[in-house]
Amino acid sequence: MTTAFPSSPAAPSSAAAGRASAGPWRTAGRVLLRNRGAMASLAVLALVGVACLLAPVYARDVAHTDPFTSNVAGTVMLDGRQLDIMQPNDNPLHLGLSPIGPTWRVPAYPLGADSQGRDVAARLLYGGRNSLLIAFSAAALCIVVAAGVGIVAGYAGGVVDAVLSRMMDIMWAVPVYLFAISLSIVTVSQGLRIGPFTVASDNLLIPICIIALVYVPYAARPVRGRVMALRRSEFVTAARGLGVPGHRIVLRDILPNVTGTLVVLAPLMTALALMAESALSFLSIGVQAPAASWGTIIQDGEGLIYTRPMVAVAPGLAIIVVVLALNILGDGMRDALDVRDGDRGRG
């Protein structure tokens, strides 16, 4: 990728001559490393990711629980006492039962149980695996597709640009959640059939593809704008004049110069995808039971909001923390890559 810079004006100019040996990506990396907020966010994301990856270890070896099966008739040992997970309410009519609340002790239901007697902490970790997998996968897919669409539209121009841009405009005109919900309702009830291939309705590919698709216009637009500017730049004009084939110009000159835009978009798109996944799962049209995501756990907690708010609060906090971290990281990456743009501009 870096080999592209010497052939384009994106190469460090005289103003940055003192740092020329570092290279633009390394320079950006250094700036990012000096950004404490971004580094803290990265650490938080890494911590959350590792914790979620260890979900099976926690459930199997620490909590000794199956977070996907109902356990309303189960018990838990706390302070040497065997307690029912579903505890009778203390009222004159003996009405109702409530799941055990947070004990704050590992492994005895530290965050309490949900209405099916399942360990909220274990479900939170398993749910995080699905939420993060969907969010990162959807963001990656979205950026790849958006890059393709934006580059083709911006570089080809004319009819191709008009057709692709109008398609993006149409998608943009539909509220993103309405669009995602509509697609999800259809696919959740019937699965997805593309020719000989069938994707089951509970396959995570479905929310990944839907979320990626609905956000394509949001990422494709800035890419197209950047490519249109690059198309008119001197180095592209020069390459054309030298008879360099179009696909080579795109791969060697255009793509490396939009990579910064795509990199900056990545954490922001991941945050958007995470929130979209949570919303769809909360509405029962994302991750399907018995699998969990942070959105499904919030839905589980909706019916317990008065008595056991932690069931909904815990995944809600997890979403807030991860989205906040992604946004701060995104800001840091934008600042880091802006340095490179600034150097280029002064050149």
Partner: protein, 561 residues
């Protein structure tokens, strides 16, 4: 409040034969005001011959009358609400020919809410209409009427000629049955036999309520928004137990709030009563802070999983037995609110009914040959062995349930059990209004569904015959209450023998029905789960709360003034 309630009902309870209590005489000081009710969704069609959801059966109790009725003034003593009493009939029928002929004399001077006077022709037309609109009651309850055959086939020649004979001059209506039916009076008391004018269209009237003879008329109905009821200006109380006058002047019913919001609204006095069961997480708060406003009542309802005996894997009896063995009924009791509100059930007859059998042929320490005295816990080992022997493990099973949180939780419980038995189980939740019909229609290919059945009338046949007899199974119809599709002529014969014994030897009938219940469960077309009790919560201003096993809370009897 309790003392005042009993004082009011004493008059009504003593007076049903003589109609001695004038309208509203129980306590005229409480007459008036507007009663405000709330429900999540509406109950669908208002057509009394079609309406089958609890919501509309309750609403229409003070709007319509049949020849017979269950008491609508609230039971004076336990069990009083169980027996049908004359309503539009001016007394008990004259039963002749060994139970083949019933002669009813109509009350005179009763008017519909459009001013038209009730006539014998209205009764005959209503009975024909039951068949013409394909009422759920048509086959199961009135299929034994002479002349019912062409009607059940949906032919245009449905006249019930010879089956229902109206004599306008004498003011009588005579029913001729092809076979004696010990439950016939119960069936005439069922709300779908409510009498409507003879000129009522022969198709579902949907959002328009035909005129009735009760103390209220439905003046507007929008299934998405609400319903309004006002007094029927032509009503006068003729039997204060069968159809007492109502207390509120107006009844306003709004739809759209979810159950959580309904609880808050009733607690705050914005509504006087909520139809939906309070969510589980609010029960503790209601029992603690609103004890005096909470009313718990027994319901003759059994919740169960219906198993389609004509679709894999439940076309294999071993699989059906395995699920009965494996299900944790205690867990279902917890989902239903705990032991105060639910009781594990191994059979389809509820406690208190003839033929009720607490014994359990499934689960730990039980077998069909040696049932346990009650449910003792799941037996996963035997269940796994049955599934292994059936060779059906690995098949996909889709569980249909309702969107209500408790229904979703119970379906999740069943899904976990099926998964543990080796199936690829998933759940699909659909709105409660649709689900009941959806489960019935064979075109929907439902494998297994969660539902509940409450007696239309307190007789064992209203459970066992209605849910498992061959003539209750109608492929391709939304009105096929035999959802499992079980059809066993031997079982039908045993049910008929038990019904006939009811007329002559109740003790023998009790034993026969108990055996029928066991025979049904030996084939396991269902997984009985729990019997439940109902929780009603009312606003602080409401008094005179009375609950009927059939009409739920008697809304017209509530005091709001």
């Amino acid at each position: 409040m309790r003392a005042r309630r009993w004082a009011g009902l004493a008059c009504a309870g003593a007076a049903w034969m003589a109609a001695a209590c004038p309208a509203g005489a129980a306590d005229p000081g409480h007459r008036g005001g507007t009663l405000r009710l709330t429900a999540t969704v509406s109950g669908g069609s208002l057509d009394p011959q079609i309406a089958y959801e609890h919501e509309n059966l309750q609403l229409e109790a003070p709007v319509y009358d049949g020849l017979m009725a269950f008491p609508k003034s609230g039971p004076v003593r336990p069990g009083d609400g169980d027996q049908p009493i004359p309503d539009l009939a001016d007394g008990p029928p004259d039963i002749r020919d060994g139970g083949l002929t019933y002669v009813f004399r109509l009350r005179r001077g009763v008017r519909f809410s459009n001013g038209q006077e009730l006539a014998a022709a209205d009764v005959a037309a209503t009975m024909r209409r039951i068949f013409r609109v394909n009422s759920p009651a048509a086959g199961p309850y009135f299929g034994d009427l002479v002349g019912a055959g062409p009607c059940l086939k949906g032919g245009a020649d449905c006249t019930l000629a010879g089956g229902v004979v109206a004599d306008a001059a004498a003011g009588t209506v005579t029913f001729h049955l092809a076979r004696p039916d010990p439950d016939f009076l119960y069936q005439l008391a069922f709300p779908q036999a409510a009498i409507v004018p003879a000129d009522t269209p022969g198709a579902d009237t949907g959002n328009i309520a035909p005129p009735g003879t009760g103390p209220y008329r439905i003046t507007s109905y929008d299934p998405d928004r609400g319903l309004r009821m006002e007094r029927n200006p032509y009503f006068h109380a003729w039997n204060p137990v069968a159809q007492p006058d109502g207390y509120p002047d107006r009844i306003e019913y709004d739809f759209g709030l979810d159950a959580e919001a309904e609880v808050t609204a009733v607690e705050n006095g914005q509504y006087d009563w909520m139809l939906d069961t309070p969510p589980g997480d609010r029960l503790g708060e209601l029992g603690d802070r609103y004890t005096a406003r909470v009313h718990i009542s027994d319901m003759q309802v059994v919740y169960y999983m219906e198993l389609n005996v004509r679709r894999p894997p439940f076309d294999n009896p071993a699989v059906r037995r395995a699920l009965n063995d494996a299900i944790d009924r205690h867990a279902v009791v917890i989902h239903e609110g705990g032991p105060a509100l639910a009781l594990p059930s191994c059979g389809m007859l509820p406690r208190g009914l003839m033929g009720y059998d607490p014994a359990c042929a499934y689960g730990r320490g039980a077998s069909a040959e040696h049932p346990a005295p009650s449910w003792q816990g799941p037996d996963m080992d035997r269940a796994r062995a049955l599934v292994r022997a059936s060779g059906t493990a690995g098949q996909a099973v889709s569980i249909v349930t309702q969107t209500a949180p408790v229904a979703i939780a119970i379906a999740g419980e069943v899904r976990d059990v099926l998964t543990a038995l080796g199936y690829r189980a998933t759940t699909r939740a659909i709105t409660p209004t649709v689900e009941f019909s959806y489960l019935q229609n064979t075109a929907n290919d439902v494998q297994i569904g969660f539902t509940g059945w409450e007696s239309d009338y307190p007789a064992p046949a209203s459970y066992l015959h209605t849910l498992f007899a061959c003539d209750s199974f109608h492929p391709g119809s939304d009105n096929s209450l035999n959802m499992s599709g079980l059809c066993d002529p031997a079982l039908d014969g045993a049910m008929r023998a038990a019904s006939l014994a009811q007329m002559t030897d109740p003790a023998r009938a009790d034993a026969l029905w108990r055996q029928v219940g066991r025979d049904v469960m030996a084939q396991a077309p269902v997984v009985p789960l729990v019997q439940t009790r109902r929780v009603d919560v009312v606003s602080a201003r409401v008094g005179h709360v009375a609950v009927s096993p059939y009409y739920l809370l008697l809304i017209a009897q509530l005091w709001v003034r």
